[in-house]
C-alpha cells in the first residue's frame, strides 16, 4: 500500500484578485504512508497551496489545477458540501497557530467529539471515548480531565497535540500539517515532530508537512518539494535532494543552513541576496531569475521541467550536472 500515490497535484494555480498569483502551476504528489515536506521561505505559496488542496482558501481566493486528485477522486469539480464530507474524515489539516485554532467557547472534548459525530454519526459518549483514547495516543496525560477543559486552560504545545488528536478522530489517510511547530518553543517542537513521525509509522498516515526548517526535513521527510514564488522548483527523495541539490534556489537554501564542523568561526552564514518577488498573473519565466547568479535571457522564457532518474525533478534551464561537474 505504501508508495501508491494518494494525493496528486499538477499545475495548481491560486490567485487573489487580479494582482496576486500566489501559486503558479505547482505540482507535487504524496504517496500513501509517507511524509512529503514542502519547504520554502515565507510568502512562497506553501500554506496557500495546502489550503487550496483542502478547498479552505479565504474569500477572494480562486483555485485552478490541471490535476487535483485524492485517492483517485477528482477534487476539482467538487462542491464545498461534497468537499466537507472528505475534510476531517479522509483528509485532515492542522495549522501554524495552535493558540487560536481551537474555539474558545467549547471544551476540548466537545470540539473533538463533533468530528466523529459529523462524519460517522457516532454517539456523543462513544465519540468522547475515542477522543480520550487519541489524547492518550498523542501523549496527553489525564485525558479524561483534559476533555472537560477549555482551550485557554492549555499551553500551546498541548493545544497543538489536541489539534493533532482531533485531526485523527476519523482515521484520515492524509494529514496536512502547516508549520505545526513554528509557534512552539524548541523543546516542544521536537516533541511534536517526534509525535508526528511516530503516528505516521504506526497509523500508515500520509503527511504533507509544510515547513521552512531544513533540519526538520532531513529528519522526517521521505520526499521534499522546494517551493519558490508559487512554483515547485525542485522535488526529490530527501537523501537525493540533500546530496545533489540542482536548482540554484535549492542550493542557496541549503547553504543557509549551518552544518556543525563545516561552519567556521567569524565566517558569515550563506544567504540569498534580494527578496521574494511579488508575482502577478501573467508573469512568465523563472521567478528566481532576479536573484540567481546563473540567470540569462533564456530564464525570461518558458522553463523546462527536467525529470532525472529516481524521480528527481527540477525547473531550471541549467543541465542536471551543472553544479556537480565542476
Amino acid at each position: 500500500m505504501t508508495g501508491e500515490t494518494l494525493l496528486e497535484v499538477e499545475g495548481l494555480r491560486v490567485e487573489f484578485g487580479a494582482s496576486v498569483a500566489a501559486v503558479r502551476g505547482a505540482s507535487l504528489s504524496v504517496a500513501r504512508g509517507q511524509t512529503h515536506c514542502l519547504v520554502g521561505e515565507s510568502g512562497c505559496g506553501k500554506s496557500v497551496s495546502a489550503l487550496a488542496i483542502m478547498n479552505l482558501l479565504a474569500r477572494g481566493g480562486r483555485r485552478g489545477a490541471d490535476k487535483l486528485s485524492f485517492a483517485g477522486i477528482d477534487l476539482r469539480g467538487m462542491s464545498d458540501r461534497e468537499m466537507a464530507r472528505l475534510r476531517g474524515d479522509r483528509m485532515a489539516m492542522i495549522f501554524q497557530e495552535p493558540m487560536t485554532s481551537l474555539n474558545p467557547a467549547y471544551t476540548v472534548g466537545s470540539q473533538m467529539a463533533e468530528v466523529l459525530r459529523r462524519h460517522r454519526g457516532t454517539s456523543r459518549r462513544d465519540a468522547l471515548d475515542r477522543a480520550a483514547e487519541l489524547l492518550g495516543r498523542v501523549g496527553i496525560t489525564a485525558p479524561g480531565m483534559r476533555l472537560g477543559q477549555f482551550p485557554h486552560q492549555l499551553s500551546g504545545g498541548l493545544r497543538q497535540r489536541v489539534m493533532i488528536a482531533m485531526a485523527l478522530m476519523c482515521d484520515p489517510e492524509l494529514l496536512i500539517a502547516d508549520e505545526p511547530t513554528t509557534a512552539l518553543d524548541v523543546t516542544v517542537q521536537a516533541q511534536i515532530l517526534r509525535l508526528l513521525a511516530g503516528l505516521q509509522r504506526d497509523l500508515g498516515l500520509a503527511i504533507l508537512l509544510i515547513t521552512h526548517d531544513l533540519g526538520v526535513v532531513a529528519r522526517v521527510a521521505h520526499r521534499v518539494s522546494v517551493m519558490y514564488a508559487g512554483e515547485v522548483v525542485e522535488s526529490a527523495a530527501t537523501a537525493d535532494l540533500f546530496a545533489r541539490p540542482t536548482h540554484p534556489y535549492t542550493r542557496g537554501l541549503l547553504e543557509c543552513v549551518p552544518v556543525p564542523g563545516k561552519v567556521k568561526r567569524d565566517q558569515p552564514l550563506g544567504s540569498i541576496p534580494g527578496v521574494v518577488p511579488k508575482v502577478s498573473p501573467g508573469f512568465t519565466g523563472c521567478g528566481f531569475r532576479d536573484r540567481c547568479a546563473h540567470a540569462n535571457e533564456i530564464c525570461a522564457g518558458d522553463i523546462p521541467r527536467h525529470r532525472t532518474d529516481g524521480d528527481h525533478e527540477y525547473l531550471c534551464r541549467l543541465p542536471r550536472d551543472w553544479a556537480h561537474a565542476a
Partner: protein, 305 residues
C-alpha cells in the same frame, strides 16, 4: 470571579446611592412643593398647613434621610395626587412596563440577530447594505414619530391593531415594535461585526477543516462567540427600554410605570416621581450587573480567570 462580582456589586450600590440622592434633589429644585400640592386657589394658611402635614417644614437633610430610611424598606410614602401608597401604585403598573420591555427586547433580538448574521455572511453585498441602511434608519428615527406612523397605518387606516390602552396582547404589538427599534440598530451592528470577526478567525478555519456543515460553522461556532457582546448589550438595552418607555407609554396610553411617571411629573407628585426614578435606576443598575454575569457565563475565559 467572586472578587470581580463583589466589586461590581459595590459599584452598583454606589451608583444606586447617587441616583437616590439626585432623584431627591431634583424634585426639590422644581419649586415649592407645598404650593403646588395646595393648588392654585389655596390661601397662605392652607400652604402652611400642608407644609407642616407633609413634613416639608423640616430641614432638607432630615427629609432626605427620612425618605431614604423608608425607601430602604419599600415605603415610598403616599401619592399626593392619587391618594394611594406609592409602592402599591408602582407595583400595579410594573407588569405593564416589564411586559412591554420584554416584548420590545424579544422583537429586537429576533430581528437584529438574523439581520446581523445575514449581513456578515454577505459582507459588502446588497443584503449587507440593506441591513446597514435599516440600522441607520432605526437609529435616526424618533420613537414617538414611528409610533404615530404605526398608529395611523395599522390602527386607523387598516384597523388591525388597537391604538391605545392595555386590554389585550394586541395592545403590546405596536409599542413593542417601536421600543424594539431603539435597540435594533446597536444589536444588529454588534451581531454583524462579531460575526465578521468570528468568521475570519482561525477556529472557524479549523471548523471548516473538520468538514462541519455550514449551519454548524455559522450557528454553533461563529455565533456562539459573536453572541457574547450581543447578549451583554441586550441586557443593558432592556434597561434603556424600561426607562425609555416613558415616551412610548404616553404615546400609546399604556398604563405602565412610564405613564405613571409622566402623569406625576405633570402633577408635581414628587413622592411618585422620586420612587419611579429610583426603581427604574435600580433595575437599570441590576441589568448592567446581569450583563457582566452573562458575559462571564458565556465566555469560559472570564469564568475561570
Amino acid at each position: 470571579m467572586l472578587r470581580f462580582l463583589l466589586r461590581r456589586f459595590v459599584v452598583a450600590l454606589l451608583v444606586a446611592a447617587t441616583v437616590l440622592t439626585l432623584a431627591f434633589m431634583l424634585t426639590r429644585l422644581s419649586g415649592d412643593l407645598a404650593i403646588s400640592i395646595a393648588g392654585a386657589n389655596a390661601t397662605q394658611a392652607d400652604v402652611e398647613l400642608i407644609r407642616k402635614a407633609y413634613g416639608l417644614d423640616r430641614p432638607v437633610i432630615v427629609q432626605f434621610f427620612d425618605w431614604v430610611g423608608r425607601a430602604m424598606i419599600g415605603d415610598f410614602g403616599e401619592s399626593y395626587f392619587f391618594k394611594a401608597r406609592t409602592a402599591a401604585l408602582i407595583g400595579e403598573r410594573m407588569p405593564v412596563t416589564i411586559t412591554l420591555g420584554l416584548t420590545g427586547l424579544l422583537i429586537a433580538l429576533f430581528v437584529s440577530i438574523p439581520m446581523g448574521i445575514a449581513a456578515a455572511v454577505n459582507e459588502g453585498a446588497w443584503v449587507d447594505r440593506v441591513v446597514q441602511f435599516i440600522a441607520l434608519l432605526g437609529q435616526a428615527m424618533p420613537g414617538f414619530w414611528l409610533g404615530l406612523i404605526l398608529m395611523i397605518t395599522f390602527g386607523l387606516q387598516l384597523g388591525w391593531l388597537p391604538i391605545s390602552g392595555t386590554g389585550s396582547w394586541q395592545h403590546y404589538v405596536m409599542p413593542g415594535i417601536v421600543l424594539a427599534f431603539t435597540a435594533i440598530p446597536a444589536l444588529t451592528r454588534l451581531t454583524r461585526a462579531g460575526m465578521i470577526q468570528a468568521m475570519s478567525s482561525d477556529y472557524i478555519r479549523t471548523a471548516r477543516a473538520k468538514g462541519l456543515s455550514r449551519a454548524s460553522i455559522l450557528l454553533k461556532h461563529a455565533l456562539r462567540n459573536a453572541a457574547i457582546p450581543v447578549v451583554a448589550i441586550a441586557a443593558v438595552q432592556l434597561g434603556f427600554m424600561l426607562g425609555g418607555s416613558i415616551v412610548i407609554e404616553s404615546v400609546f396610553a399604556l398604563h405602565g410605570v412610564g405613564f405613571l411617571a409622566w402623569e406625576s411629573i405633570g402633577k408635581n407628585d414628587f413622592p411618585v416621581v422620586q420612587a419611579v426614578v429610583l426603581v427604574l435606576a435600580v433595575i437599570y443598575v441590576a441589568l448592567t450587573m446581569l450583563a457582566d454575569i452573562l458575559n462571564a457565563v458565556l465566555d469560559p475565559r472570564l469564568r475561570t480567570a
